[in-house]
């Protein structure tokens, strides 16, 4: 809703990355933390509820156990009185009372007893009790030996039943007790596992993106940046951070480009002095020829006039050529990478800085190895790098120094090496680590400290590297390593 791009922008990798980062469902770290704690709470709540239920059941069972004991008691009392009656003819009413009490208890606790011993057993118990009560009544009226035997039999069954109920319930209580003893232990174990998982999970949720951000910033500081892309399915707080880092990288890149542009302007300024001097020669030739024409036109033959006019034209062209190189270099345009010949690149940059070299009186020794492969790059940017190196070399050398430029295959496979060696004063060891830092200069107010920093930026962007070897008093070699162009599609094969 209201997003700037309905589809991922294709031309700008950082904008595309931002789009991908934003177009994900949101599931914030905050929500994840809340969900984790909720899970812990649910577990603890569940344990509490389970404990509560177990304890309530235990309480209930204890109460029922009392009832069962009372019932057993009644039955046993009834049997004792029954024995007294059979032996001494006394206490039959007391026996009947206890049987009735037992019957009442049985009826009242019917459900619990059924649960404890099962419906069939309960029915059996009930049958025995009723039969026993009936037999007691018969015994009162007309005792027979059969009645007595049946009475004893049902009495024994009744006692067994009562004891069975109590026993079953006791066992159930023991079971519950062992469950409630185990419950907190199991809960503690589960909670520990859950906490460990949540800790792991949150750590991963936070530490991994942090690690990526650290990697991205150190990558940016090395001048090579690939925009941060989404690694998870959901948007969270780190999305904002990734966007901020991408934004920062865009800004840095823009500033880097501005610095490179400023540096180029300064190089153009230096080169312009050389070009202005170089222009003096064709202008002088034109001026002398024009004067000769003015002075002698009447005495000159047609062939001589032709010759003079030819000179005028050739010198005008020459002047144009002198300026064209610089204009090519100065023109502001989008970087454009294409296959380049190293030798041609060096020659055109030497032409560009040639006037400057002539001005300083330096000798130039150029050696290019045979059969060099093409490199892939932006001609203007790479020219800027080489021109910077030449101008630095000139600055480092006293008048009439020796500049050596050599191009060959690099020691590392897949790289072309262009080395610019001067016979200058060299770079002190303590300055070496800083020479590629922006605004670091050993030239005092004369330098901006941008040349090498910008050159390094350009070369790194091309996938290459600049290395320096220097000895104070002897000179410096700056070696530019550039990756060989991938083999072009074999359309002529």
């Amino acid at each position: 809703m209201g997003e700037p791009h309905p589809s991922p922008p294709a031309d700008d990798p950082i904008a595309a990355a931002d789009w991908a980062l934003l177009h994900r469902p949101t599931f914030s770290i905050r929500t994840k933390i809340a969900a984790s704690f909720l899970a812990c709470f649910v577990l603890i709540g569940g344990v509490a509820l389970a404990s509560w239920i177990t304890l309530s059941r235990l309480e209930h069972k204890l109460y029922f156990l009392e009832v069962a004991d009372r019932y057993t008691n009644h039955i046993q009392q009834a049997r004792r009185y029954e024995k007294n009656f059979l032996l001494y003819g006394t206490d039959l009413a007391a026996a009947q009372e206890h049987v009735q009490a037992a019957g009442t208890a049985l009826k009242a606790e019917r459900r619990e007893i059924e649960r404890a011993v099962g419906r069939a057993t309960f029915q059996g118990m009930k049958g025995h009790l009723e039969r026993y009560e009936q037999l007691l009544g018969e015994l009162d009226r007309s005792p027979t030996p059969e009645t007595t035997t049946a009475l004893r039999e049902h009495g024994a069954q009744m006692v067994d039943g009562a004891l069975g109920v109590a026993e079953a319930e006791r066992q159930s209580v023991h079971q519950l007790l062992s469950v409630s003893r185990l419950l907190p232990l199991v809960a503690a174990g589960l909670l520990l596992a859950l906490i460990m998982y949540v800790t792991q999970f949150l750590a991963r949720q936070i530490l991994r993106p942090l690690g990526r951000m650290v990697a991205a910033t150190s990558q940016i500081s090395r001048g090579e940046f690939t925009p941060l892309l989404p690694q998870r399915r959901y948007r969270d707080e780190f999305t904002t951070m990734a966007l901020a880092i991408n934004h920062m990288a865009t800004e840095l890149e823009r500033r880097q480009e501005m610095l490179a542009e400023a540096q180029k302007l300064r190089a153009i300024g230096t080169l312009t002095a050389g070009v202005a001097h170089e222009l003096n020669n064709p202008i002088n030739n034109i001026s002398l020829t024009a004067e000769a024409l003015l002075e002698d036109c009447e005495q000159l033959s047609v062939d001589e006039l032709r010759d003079l006019c030819g000179d005028l034209l050739s010198q005008a062209e020459r002047a144009q050529g002198v300026v064209r190189n610089l204009l090519d270099f100065a023109r502001v345009r989008e970087p454009q990478r294409r296959p380049l010949e190293v030798a041609e690149l060096i020659e055109s940059t030497l032409k560009l800085a040639g006037n400057q070299l002539r001005l300083s009186g330096a000798t130039v020794d150029l050696s290019v190895a045979e059969g060099m492969p093409l490199i892939h790059g932006d001609k203007q940017q790479l020219s800027q790098v080489l021109v910077n190196l030449y101008l630095n070399a000139l600055d480092a050398m006293a008048a009439r120094g020796a500049l050596r430029i050599s191009a060959r295959m690099g020691d590392e496979p897949g790289f072309v090496s262009v080395a610019v060696t001067d016979s200058g004063r060299g770079i002190p060891k303590e300055a070496l680590p800083y020479i590629f830092d922006p605004f670091f200069t050993t030239k005092g107010a004369k330098g901006t400290g941008l040349g090498l920093s910008v050159s390094h930026g350009i070369v790194t962007k091309h996938g290459g590297d600049i290395r320096v070897r220097s000895e104070v008093g002897k000179g410096t070699t700056m070696e530019v390593l550039l990756p060989v162009a991938e083999a072009p599609p074999a359309d002529h094969a």
Binding site: H277, N284, I286, S287, L288, T289, E295
Partner: protein, 128 residues
């Protein structure tokens, strides 16, 4: 006044081509060369009254030719002409004994005036 002999050294061939008739017209005997080595060879063969030389050249440069010419004879008046004129270079040339220093592009009349001054210095020397 005997005919003054002039040596013109410039690696730009057009300079020699134009100066030869322009100076011959005024009665000078003019030799033209395009390299410092040739100039040094000719200086070894004869003493020139006036040497007009460019400074920046491949191989033997104008300052070296100036040195050689002054070493050969203090009579030789050396006029430096260069497209790369700087104050430092002018000073260096003067220190080496250059008579005049003219920046390119120049007008013929400027050069002729300089040569005339050089020629005048001979008669001043002769009278002084």
């Amino acid at each position: 006044m005997p005919q003054l002999n002039v040596l013109v050294l410039d690696d730009e061939p057009i300079v020699g081509k134009r100066l030869r008739p322009a100076l011959a017209k005024l009665g000078y005997r003019v030799d033209v060369v395009q390299t410092g080595a040739d100039a040094v060879r000719l200086i070894g063969e004869q003493v020139y009254d006036i040497l007009i030389t460019d400074i920046r050249m491949e191989g033997v440069d104008g300052l070296e030719v100036l040195r050689q010419a002054r070493a050969r004879s203090s009579r030789t008046r050396v006029i430096m002409i260069t497209g790369y004129a700087t104050a430092d270079l002018a000073q260096e040339a003067r220190d080496l004994g250059a008579f005049d220093f003219i920046a390119k592009p120049f007008k013929l009349e400027d050069l002729r005036a300089a040569i005339a001054r050089a020629a005048g210095s001979f008669s001043a020397e002769a009278h002084g």
